[in-house]
């Protein structure tokens, strides 16, 4: 079984690199479908990381979590997105309010920021710093996506990326919360996405566009 062990250690040492990569790609990606794909990949990396942790720490319930992550975030959600885009018959552009170059630089800065942020906390919670940094970077990038992409769908995606980050942070620092809670959280995410889907339809029907920055009737 040495092979698995080696794989595990490799994953644990290198998954953050993949995550940073996915983030940078998210920054430049112009098509919604690309973004969704990248999100799927990202989730896959996280799934692998979860498995690895579970294997290393010999925690049975983490496998369950990993399975859920895989099913929901790698398979279900991306597919749901594709269906949604098809049904909404919307143009595929994400309507970024920053040029790809700016986005890349911003995201790079965010990554640096997250390193700076976790430096102090890293040693005292005894986890690999770049892992934690990756988690924080995910959160920040998610926020960045929500603020800078004007398509409703992209905001949902940004939220999901953020959630990935939070989940990852939880996993790294505490090897996951109690199972019941995790399940509840996942449930919430699913329902939330469902509702957002409904609202995207309503927005499309009432305004026949999906540009959230144009929803400015209520102000002051």
């Amino acid at each position: 079984m040495g092979l698995v062990a080696i794989a595990t250690s490799k994953i644990l040492s290198s998954f953050s690199v993949f995550l940073f990569l996915s983030i940078l790609l998210l920054a430049v990606a112009r098509r919604i479908s690309t973004n969704v794909l990248l999100f799927g990949v990202q989730s896959a990396v996280i799934t692998a990381e979860v498995f690895a942790t579970g294997f290393q720490e010999k925690l049975a319930e983490i496998y369950v979590v990993a399975a859920m992550v895989f099913v929901i975030k790698v398979m279900l959600i991306p597919r749901a997105f594709f269906v949604l885009t098809k049904k909404l018959k919307t143009v595929h552009d994400v309507k970024a309010s920053t040029t790809p170059t700016q986005s890349v630089f911003i995201v790079a800065f965010l990554i640096y920021l997250s390193y700076a942020a976790v430096q102090s906390y890293g040693q005292e919670v005894r986890v690999p710093e770049d892992g934690l940094a990756a988690a924080v970077a995910l959160i920040l990038t998610g926020a960045f996506l929500m603020v800078s992409r004007r398509k409703a769908l992209m905001q949902m995606l940004g939220l999901l990326v953020m959630e990935n980050g939070i989940f990852l942070a939880a996993l790294l620092t505490t090897f996951g919360m109690p199972l019941v809670i995790e399940i509840g959280i996942f449930f919430d995410i699913l329902v939330g996405l469902l509702l957002m889907g409904i609202f995207t339809f309503r927005i499309r029907d009432t305004f026949d566009h999906l540009d959230v920055s144009k929803l400015r009737r209520l102000r002051g």
Partner: protein, 484 residues
Amino acid sequence: MILLSSLAIPLLGAGLMLGFANAKIATRLALLIGAAEIASLGAIVWQVHIRGVLQEGRYLRADGLSAFFLLSIAFVFGLVLVYSSGYLRHMGEGRFTSARWFYSLVFLFLFTMITVCLSANLGLMWIMMEGTTLASALLVGFYNTEGAVEAGWKYLMVCTVGIAFALFGTIVLYLAAVKDGVKSADALDWLSLMTAAPRMAGDGHLLKLAFVFVIVGYGTKIGFVPMHSWLPDAHTEAPTPISALLSGVLLNCAMYALMRYDAIISHAIGSGFPHALLLIFGVMSMVVAGLLILVQRNLKRLMAYSSVEHMGIIAIGLGVGGPLGLWGALLHTFNHSVAKSLLFFSAGNVRHNLGTLRMDGISGMSRTLPQTSAALVVGSLAIVGLPPFGLFISEFAILSEAFTQARYLVVTLFLITLSVVFGGFAHHLFKLLCGQPVRQPERSRLIPSEYTVMGIAAFCLLLFGARVPYVFRVLLQDAMAVLR
């Protein structure tokens, strides 16, 4: 058992309602279920008062604090239910917009909020808090108009993002607890956290981190400035009973969650840091909202901002702490929800009868809608904190505590804002009530259901202005005892 029943009733009710297409029957049924729910909540409060703490499994617990909030939920919910029985009298059978959908979503909403108050586990509390957003988002977008959809989307997104931070804060707290040797199974249980708090003093800045995330997260739900942006939109576009529920119950639930966290952190590292944050957010919310009240044009929006302002007042009460401050803050949550419901109800009547909420389009209401105007006046006098109404008492308590602790900056801003808010309300009210009426209402007098709820609310405000009833005094004592 009784806890479970109080959760089961609304849940089953929500399911059951969908089966009844006929609006009349649905309304009757809803009233029935509501009565049962209120009864069971009352039973819980009674039990808590007798036996102290009720525990149900690992995840449900009711103590003095939850009892107090359950009582106010039950009260406001009862008012809302009766009011909406009249409010929905002419609502068509749309795809989602129909009496049965309305009621089933309302019960779902109620279920999540009650669970928030009953959950012993912070994780569960978070889940249910997110649940409240999800359950009420559809209600906010209920009318499916442009404004409703926009408001619903903003509500959903903003709150979900905020709540996500609260989750992160919860995780950090969990981490700190686990680090300091709390069993990971109990590391989210509020009681064990409270007992373990003194041990966690070592991880001061982890806890601070946790609290920052939590206050931003739940603060979004509470409507602290600058996270309040969703609040006016949602309150304005939602159906009136829902607006009342949002600002009368939901905000209080979020405040309740924040209180729980605040208690833990204060036990661990002393109340200096969390209370400072509470004061900052409280004063900010109060001042900003108070000023914004001056320049509102929409009646419900005005009231929404006043909700923000009052959440600020409550936060200040918690922030100054002390026996009187806490007492005032808790009492204020109740007073505010009653007064605000009264105001929203009258605003609902205004929209029904005059077909608009834009205040520049309304005048001479005191002639055309005498009863509604009376309700509006009473509610406004109460909400700006004048005697002989309840909010005067709670604000008096908070102020005197703040002065006793010589927090002069806070009280200065507090008093100035009170005057500004008073000016705003008086200005708008005079424009609404005085002068010559522009358009005739469809019905100048109230229907019995509205009459009853408004009467009850007004009477309750008056009563609390003169004297806090025995039940409440006891409950307040229990609640404060829990937080100490």
